[in-house]
């Protein structure tokens, strides 16, 4: 409860709403003992006095009644009626919801069909029909508004009840011989009660507005008694000559409803855990670059070189250093593998190259991505956009969610081509069919008309690859493109990638967690752990003679076919959280060779031979 109030108080607008609503309720409660004149005393000599001119602070209405006094009494009445309607709707609606949810099957069916019928009406029609039957009057209006809101409660509460009736404690209560009534009262009710309260708090504003509306139409409170709605309705006749008589009650309704809405938003936000972690934020078109330290470009000779890249995630007060000074090079006609466990920063490295890391929370804080002499981290948006999908393209992990679900394959391919090349509709169609052929999709003319959900997983990934090839790229960055596929399809996709490097001379950066995949297609490999590269060199060398203890343990996790019965290794413990890395080697806590020096200082990536670099004080050197 205290935590909830703390959360609520973080939202200043909601707090303001809470203060206002408490003030209004307090004033309404003490209205009878306030020294104000009788709201119903008619004084026709003093009609339409403007505010602040007489004793009546807010002026007088068309019968010379004190507006201030009428406003306070009207507010009191409106609040009471709204609150009563909310209680009645909550009581009946929740009862129906609990019964429907608890007994389920037939009872549920009958009740919910009835509720659906009520919901088929635009709400005011039903309210009007009820008032027509019962006759105008505040109490009847209250009943009408309550009935109209019953379906809302019934549906919500039914859902919650349905969710808990299969819980073990309900079964236990049944087995112990408790009657249904007792189970509902002692077991179900306490669990759904919070939901009822929340539903009430979000609808009470509505109900105040709806009863005020019926009164405004002359169907609610009858003279001389007045709630805010009927005050407004009576003032309408004199709208043009004495507008303040309308403004006073109207503004009051606005204030009350707005305060309740603000408070309701605050309550909802405080209860929705997703909003707290900031997940519901939309990523910008490009990863944010902030506190940027441009690193020196280490190499100009390769097609693409990434130097000392730093990408962080700022979530709340935590700062996750997902990529911490990574340098890699992509060579023409070669495949570079980046391998590591989940959370090692391999995907973030790949996505940072073209500014595709979700931001917020991602921020690039340093590094240099060199492509043809310009730093991609610092190019303007237009230049980056003209390279994306054109010279440098991506293939992502989940082939289904990476494709737009509502567009056909053809449309998505054509779009990729047209984004960078001004070609005719006829040509763009031919090209997209050729692309589908080139990734060996059978019957491409037919498949082009399909939606992604109609294709198999392997076909989808082929479409993604075709899309990446649309503009003859120089570099393809593939982020675990085979992880979501089954093994045979995986092999086909890998051979497709191998062809692309060998035959088209493409540079491929291949992200994976599987050394088996590395051995099949990668020429070089960078092993990542906790945001840093721990070993980098020719893949054949590293596969056969891993120098870093982490690499050798990782290779030990790969099952080998036909190599006898070997205990499949695993690495004890978990990778460290990258928000609180201390000094020293991040792998030290899981390493068998740890010595005290490992924990003291940061360890540099050092060459152990001409081609291989290792970040370890005691690398296994094979001669």
């Amino acid at each position: 409860m205290i935590g909830f109030i703390k959360l609520l108080s973080r939202n200043r607008l909601s707090l303001a709403g809470l203060v206002v609503i408490i003030l209004v309720i307090f004033t309404a409660l003490i209205t009878p003992i306030l020294p104000i004149s009788d709201p119903d005393v008619i004084d026709t000599k003093n009609r339409f006095k403007t505010p602040f001119t007489t004793d009546a602070l807010l002026g007088t209405d068309h019968l010379g009644r004190d507006l201030m006094s009428r406003l306070l009494w009207g507010t009191r009445l409106s609040l009471a009626v709204g609150f009563c309607a909310a209680c009645i709707a909550a009581l009946i609606g929740s009862a129906l919801g609990i019964i429907a949810g608890f007994y389920a099957s037939r009872v549920d069916n009958i009740i919910m069909r009835g509720i659906d019928m009520l919901m088929a009406f635009p709400y005011i029609l039903l309210a009007l029909a009820i008032v027509a039957a019962l006759g105008p009057g505040l109490f009847n209006a209250l009943i009408a508004v309550a009935i109209v809101n019953i379906p809302f409660f019934a549906r919500n509460i039914r859902g919650v009840t349905l969710g808990i009736t299969h819980k073990e404690y309900i079964d236990a209560a049944r087995l112990s011989g408790m009657t249904d009534t007792r189970i509902i009262i002692t077991e179900v009710l306490p669990n759904v009660f919070p939901v009822i309260v929340i539903a009430m708090s979000t609808t009470v504003g509505w109900m105040i507005l709806e009863t005020a509306g019926l009164s405004f139409l002359g169907l609610g409170s009858q003279p001389p008694q007045a709630d805010l709605g009927s005050m407004l309705g009576e003032a309408r006749a004199a709208l043009i000559t004495s507008p303040y008589t309308s403004v006073v009650p109207g503004a009051m309704i606005l204030i009350i409803v707005m305060a309740i809405n603000l408070l309701g938003d605050g309550i909802r936000d405080a209860l929705d855990p997703r909003l707290k972690s900031g997940v519901l934020s939309s990523p910008r078109p490009r990863t944010l670059v902030a506190n940027y330290n441009e690193a020196k470009n280490l190499d100009r000779s390769e097609l693409l070189s990434v130097s000392k890249l730093r990408t962080q995630f700022h979530i709340g007060k935590q700062n996750y250093k997902a990529v911490d000074g990574v340098s890699i090079y992509a060579k023409k006609g070669a495949c570079l593998g980046i391998i590591g466990e989940s959370g090692s920063g391999k995907s973030v490295t790949a996505l940072s190259i073209m500014g595709l890391v979700s931001s917020p929370p991602g921020i690039i804080t340093g590094g240099y991505v060199n492509y043809k002499g310009s730093n991609l981290i610092h190019t303007n948006d237009q230049e980056l956009q003209s390279l994306r999908g054109n010279k440098i393209s991506y293939v992502f992990q989940d082939p289904l969610s990476s494709l737009h679900p509502l567009y056909t394959v053809q449309k998505q391919l054509e779009e990729a081509i047209k984004a960078h090349q001004p070609v005719s509709q006829e040509e763009v169609y031919q090209r997209s069919i050729e692309l589908l052929k080139s990734v060996r999709i059978p019957n491409p003319e037919q498949r082009a008309k399909d939606y992604p959900h109609q294709l198999s997983g392997g076909m989808r990934q082929r479409v993604n690859i075709a899309m990446a090839l649309a503009n003859d790229p120089e570099i393809i960055i593939a982020d675990e493109p085979t992880t979501a596929l089954d093994v045979t399809v995986q092999a086909q996709i890998l051979s497709l990638f191998r062809e692309l490097t060998r035959e088209r001379g493409l540079a491929i950066i291949f992200i994976t967690h599987d050394f088996g995949v590395v051995s099949q297609i990668c020429d070089e490999v960078a092993v990542m752990y906790a945001g840093k590269i721990v070993e980098y060199g020719p893949s054949e060398m590293i596969l056969n003679h891993p120098a870093h203890p982490y690499t050798s343990r990782l290779i030990g996790c790969v099952p080998e076919l036909g190599k006898g019965k070997r205990e499949l290794a695993s690495i004890d413990g978990l990778p460290p959280m990258v928000d609180r890395l201390g000094h020293g080697c991040a792998f030290a806590p899981r390493c068998e060779k740890t010595i005290s020096e490992c924990l003291n200082n940061d360890i540099k990536l050092k060459n152990i031979n001409a081609n291989t670099q290792v970040r370890c004080l005691k690398p296994e050197i094979h001669l």
Binding site: Y123, L125, L219, S246, G250, M354
Partner: protein, 315 residues
């Protein structure tokens, strides 16, 4: 597709029957004797009994329901005693005026609401977003009848841009320009609340979509941000925005009752309120059943549109 539409239309039959039963039962609850209400309190008992027999009120409830149902299926909703006119003629005429008002309003709130929601989500946490969020909050909190009165005061009385009330000028041609100038204020006043709700829900629907993988793919393809937001994201978000529009149509139709009172619009809402105050029960009954039935049909249209929009459902 045709099969689906047919299936949906068939499924509307029990809903429509349910609506007719609910309305009939509510009206049957009316205390007192309709015959006395029609004939006045000085009527002789013989006359009351005769009228009761003529109206079929001496028969049991369920028989009366089927007689009434049979009549309304043939378009006979009875005669309004206060207007001395066939109920169905009056309802259709008034409903036309309501459709013009609510329809315009609905188009306004859908367009503006979705645009505001999309802008707000694309510029999340920036000034545009905060501004839109605040205006939306104000919009959904203001009672439409109060807003309408204030608009009359400002735009009709002080600035004299638009007429104060009514649907047509009292003198002068009943042409489109006249209609638009009369329509501007009430349609805007009616649209405000729904615009706010639609903007709010469109924003969250868009935020949900914008963090999906296929948006990242669209960006990785090198599409410009306008295409990413307005084509890729909005197209996908429409799947969840469309049902919201259907629900909001009901709210616009409901809100029209207040706006018709404020602006003296000759719609079905004002007719119902007048009929209730005059105790013209047959008119109320006919109006409610007719409008509710139209709303059910409209919702089927929304379902069908949803179906067309999302190829995944077809399978």
């Amino acid at each position: 597709m045709l099969g689906y539409i047919l299936k949906r239309l068939l499924s509307a039959i029990p809903v429509l029957l349910g609506i007719s039963i609910i309305v009939f039962l509510i009206m049957a609850m009316i205390p007192g004797d309709p015959a006395t209400a029609i004939l006045g309190s000085y009527a002789t008992p013989e006359n009351v009994e005769k009228l009761n027999r003529d109206l079929g009120l001496d028969k049991p409830l369920f028989k009366r329901y089927f007689i009434w149902l049979g009549n309304i299926l043939q378009g006979d909703f009875g005669r309004s005693y206060s207007l001395n006119k066939n109920v169905i003629d009056e309802v259709i005429e008034r409903f036309g005026a309501t459709l013009i008002l609510a329809g315009t309003s609905f188009i306004m709130c859908s367009l503006i609401g979705i645009c505001a929601g999309v802008l707000s989500s694309a510029k999340q946490f920036k000034l545009t977003d905060k501004l839109i969020t605040f205006i939306v909050l104000l919009g959904i909190s203001i009672p439409s009848f109060f807003l309408g009165m204030m608009m009359i005061l400002l735009f009709a009385v002080h600035l004299r841009w638009f007429p104060v009330s009514g649907m047509w000028p009292i003198y002068g041609a009943r042409d489109l320009t006249a209609l638009i100038s009369h329509l501007a204020l009430p349609a805007s006043a009616l649209a405000v609340v729904a615009t706010g709700v639609i903007a709010r829900l469109s924003r969250s629907a868009m935020l949900e979509i914008l963090r999906q993988d296929f948006i990242r793919t669209a960006r990785a393809k090198g599409l410009d941000e306008k295409t990413v937001i307005w084509r890729h994201a909005l197209r996908a978000a429409m799947v969840s925005i469309l049902p919201i529009l259907g629900i909001q149509a009901g709210f616009v139709l409901s809100g029209a009752v207040y706006i018709e009172m404020v602006f003296q619009w000759p719609g079905v809402g004002r007719m119902l309120v007048d009929a209730i105050l005059k105790r013209d029960i047959l008119l109320v009954q006919g109006g409610v059943v007719f409008v509710a039935a139209c709303y059910v049909i409209f919702n089927i249209a929304v379902d069908v549109a949803q179906h067309l929009l999302d190829p995944r459902i077809k399978a």
